[in-house]
Structures are given as C-alpha cells and as structure tokens.
Symmetry: C2
Subunit: 308 residues, 2 copies
C-alpha cells in the first residue's frame, strides 16, 4: 500500500468521491477516483519476500477522449517476487512510469515512484538500470497504516466480514475507529496497534504466515498458484487430518463431561495414527487443513496478545 496521505498532501492524489467500483466480489476490485487528474503517472510498489504488489492510476478512456483529463481508477496487480521480469515488463508495456501518450525513456517528467518492502532496497538497482528511475523508499509500516486508514475512512465496502465465501459489510464508526489492531499477513505476519494517522506501534508478529501456509501447500499438494490453493481449500474436509477433542475422548464422554467435541486439538494430528502416506490424501483435504491450522494460529497469537 502506498503512502496516500503524502500523495494527497502533495496534491498528487484527489481522493474526493473515492469508492469501490466494478464487481465487488472480485479479488481486487479497483477504486474509482472521479476527480483525479490523468496528467502524469501514479505508480507505487511494494516488493515483499513473496509478492510484488503494484497500485497505479488508470485514467478513464472516455474522459481522455472528451478532453476532460479527470477520472479513473486505482488498480491493483500482483506478481511473484521471483518473477520480477514479468512485473518490469508490465510496467513498461502499460507506461506506468511516464503517463499516457508520453515517451518512455524520458526522465524529465513528473515521475513519482514510491516503493516499500525489503525488495525496494534489494532490487533498487534493477529499476535504476531498466527505467533510469530511483525508488523513493517509504517506511513499510507507515504506509500500511495509512492505507488501512484510507480504506476504513473513505471506502465503506472495503470493510467486511467473510463467512463461507459470503461478504457482510461492516459499518466503521469514524468516531470509534482507533485504536484497532492491524494484522498484515504477508510471507510472515506483522501485528500493528493503530492509534491514528502516523500513530502506530508494531506490537508483535509471527514467522508462521502466508509463506508457511502456501510453502507447505506447494510441497504437499504440488499446486503452484495461490489462487488454486485457496480454491482447493474450499472443497476439502479438515477432519480427515485434524485431531479433534472427540477423537481423543470419544463422543459420549464429551457429552458427559461438557467438552466441546469439535474443538481442534491438534492440526494434522490424525496423520500420526494413520498408515496412509502423502499420496493417499486428497489435495483438497490437505489444503483445508493447512488453511485452518495457520489462520487459527494467527488468530491465536493475536488473541493471546490482546486478552492475556
């Protein structure tokens, strides 16, 4: 996420009337910015350990053709960090650094190229060589918080709960927004207590994050795309591999003792007593078990932290 505050402050971004547009059930629906000028280019990038995330402004075709140079969408695209070349090619083809109709290669224009993430340091030279631009490296935590505040404050439908694939909007009270806990799940996980704009503290984190879940998914199921993994995980049954309280005590005892029979006792715990080997398990069941193991774990690390 980019440092929107700074860009707004500097007159680069006009956030008035910002709203989600397109299909809300899409993974990454664009954000409409009806008053944003199409002059110049607006691109920002976050280069993490696993993914490169781009956000850029794309002016409306009709606005352009009618001579009105305002209105368009903030668009979100991601690439695997290991495929940096694809990302660079996307930037070049879409002229994201130099604006529409302007020549690639000229560096005298109003080029803004904010960048966050460890990769912004690691790959700075690559961008310099390829495009002749320097990355303006911003503090990652600061920009994540600013981006979250922007979404919570200005884009109502960006706040929702999701249950069985169904989104339910959450109304965010602007009076009681702070403090909140921002859980930023990347390869690893950072947990940030947000008290206001630019007022935040990284309170904890965990090395068991998206990288662990998808890394194990690649090894166990052979799937190589994250979206495939998510789809698999929606079709499986975690009780094939997970040990629940009922498995240890028997159902009758749970009833008698008032124990919750379905409480997860040990993720993957049923594998121990089974003679099955990896190839005997369905990819769907493995994916579902991984998803519940690590999402519950992240929730627990947070919960332990908030309610000791």
């Amino acid at each position: 996420m980019t440092n929107l505050d700074e860009m707004e402050y500097n007159g680069l971004l006009d956030l008035e009337g910002a709203e989600l547009c397109g299909d809300l059930e899409e993974r990454n629906p664009p954000i409409s910015l009806p008053n944003q000028s199409s002059d110049g280019a607006l691109l920002a990038v976050d280069i993490g350990g696993t993914l490169i995330k781009l956000v850029y402004f794309e002016g409306n075709e009709d606005a352009m053709s009618h001579g009105r140079a305002t209105g368009g969408q903030l668009r979100f695209v991601k690439f695997q960090t290991s495929r940096l070349d694809e990302c660079l090619e996307f930037i070049r083809l879409n002229r994201l650094l130099y604006g529409r109709g302007l020549d690639t290669g000229s560096t005298s224009l109003n080029v803004k190229f904010k960048a966050t993430g460890g990769g912004a340091f690691k790959f700075a030279d690559v961008f310099k060589e390829k495009f002749g631009v320097s990355l303006d490296k911003l503090d990652e935590m600061d920009t994540v918080v600013t981006g979250a505040n922007f979404l919570l404050k200005k884009i109502p439908n960006e706040s929702f709960t999701c249950m069985h694939g169904k989104r339910t909007p959450v109304v965010v009270s602007q009076q009681n927004l702070f403090p909140y806990l921002l859980v930023n799940i990347g390869s690893g996980v950072s947990m940030i207590k947000v008290m206001g704009n630019r007022k935040f503290e990284r309170v904890t984190g965990t090395h068991i994050g998206g990288g662990t879940m998808f890394g194990l998914a690649k090894l166990l199921t052979g799937c190589t795309r994250y979206d495939d993994f998510l789809q698999l995980s929606q079709q499986g049954d975690n009780l094939v591999l997970d040990l629940i309280v009922k498995d240890i005590c028997g159902e009758l005892v749970c009833l008698k003792q008032g124990l919750s029979a379905s409480t997860l006792a040990s993720s993957f715990g049923k594998v121990l007593s089974s003679r099955r080997k990896l190839s005997d398990y369905k990819a769907e069941d493995l994916a579902t078990t991984l998803l519940s193991a690590f999402t519950y774990n992240i929730a627990q690390v947070i919960y332990s932290f908030i309610y000791p």
Copy 2:
C-alpha cells in the same frame, strides 16, 4: 504423569531419597526409589491422542533375592495410541497390574491403576475386558502439575536446559518455585500457570503441537518414528526452506538499517520462489524446518501471553 501426591499420601509411594539413576543422557532415565516397598504393583497410565505413556515401579532384583522387599525404580515407557495392543501385551507380560510372582487374573489384590488422558475414558472398556480392572480416572491437568512439582522439588537433575544436544542443569529455588508456567506438549499444547500444589489454571493452549509437527514430518519425509524425525532434524539446514530477513532485504541493507539479518521472517517461505518440488528437498532440511517452525511458534504463543 500420575498423581504422585495422592499415592504418597495414601502410603503407596515412598519418595524419600528419590533420584535419577542410570545414564542421564538417556531419553527416559528411571528414577530410583530406594525406600519403596516391592509389595503389590504400582502402575499408572496416560492415554493421549498420539501416545500412551506408562510409569511403573520395578523392584530391584537383588533386593528381591535378599529378602529385602524395598528399593527399585520408577520406569517410563511409551507406545503409540494406535498400537494399544502392544501396550496391553507389555502390561500382561511384565505383570504390571498384579505385582511380581503373583498370578495374573486375580483381582482380589491391592491393584492400583490410575489413568489420565482422553483415552482413559475411550478405552476403559478394553482394560476391563482384558484385565478385569477398572481405570481410576484422575484429572489430567491436576496430575501433570503434581508430577512437574515432584520433579522440580525432589529430582535436581530433572531441571535442565538443552542447547545443541548438551544438557545444563538448572538449580530450582524451592523458595521461588511458584508461580511458573508449565507448557505441556502433546498432540496439542496446554499452558498451565502453576501457583502451588493443586493450585493451577490452564491459561492457554494451541492446536499446533507435537501432532502437527510429526504429522507433517510423516507426510513430508515419510519417517514413521518420532525418534527418527528428531535425529533427522539435528542434521538439516533450515535456511534451505526458511525465509530470513536477509533474503528479503539483502545483507547490506540489514547492516545499514540495523536489522537482524538472520531473523526468521517466514517458515517455509523460500519454497514459494523455488522451482523445486518435494522430492528435490532433503528429509533432514524438511525436518529441521518443521522443528524450528513449531517450537518457535509454541514459544511465541507463550511469550505473547506473558509479555503482552
């Protein structure tokens, strides 16, 4: 672990002079009880989701032959819960329920058979059918705490740290023993705040425990014995699969920014950017990565809990 307090209180156990004996580097060294009577049998059992743990008293051969019916060892043995039959056969062959030299099958003797764990409920009928004994089911948490207090108070060398396979004894102050946090790692994990004998509270736990680690180890490496997994994990290199801060930022940036280059950022995170599949990885490296992922996670859940 068995309810030693109760057994001591009831005159069944004489703990005076109790100490570790045999090779201290053994996984489960016996505890010498020099004043314990060899009359009758002393057996207790914990039947968990993964393992059955037995503790029993074995009188000294020489004490027996010299007519002195005192002295012997508390011995510890474990079986996989899925192989209950092997455990039952061990109990039968060693006459653990009826004492030495006494006939199997007689139930009129002073048989004490304390049991804990979910399996004590689930398999109660099996023990009744096979041996004609009822299991005296004790509260698991209560017995774990009593057992830990027993070890901490009466067996000096049972308290140690372990670094690179080397044990360093910890001197436990009897004045400042309480409160302490007992982390009981089974298939899942329970964390218990211990304030004294029979004074304790289960404060938290996690479903990511021994069952998760060894379950995944079975799937990823094909090893079927826990001891094999532990041995593998001592020979591998977790940096083949784990993503550390240096991998994301580059080493120079870590130096410049004062970041710890070797901090674990994402367990298994390096798998994402690799083209290797499961069979391309060494079992040792997979085992080491699993061990560090889940032991660190348990430590973190505890730490978040204690130092919010």
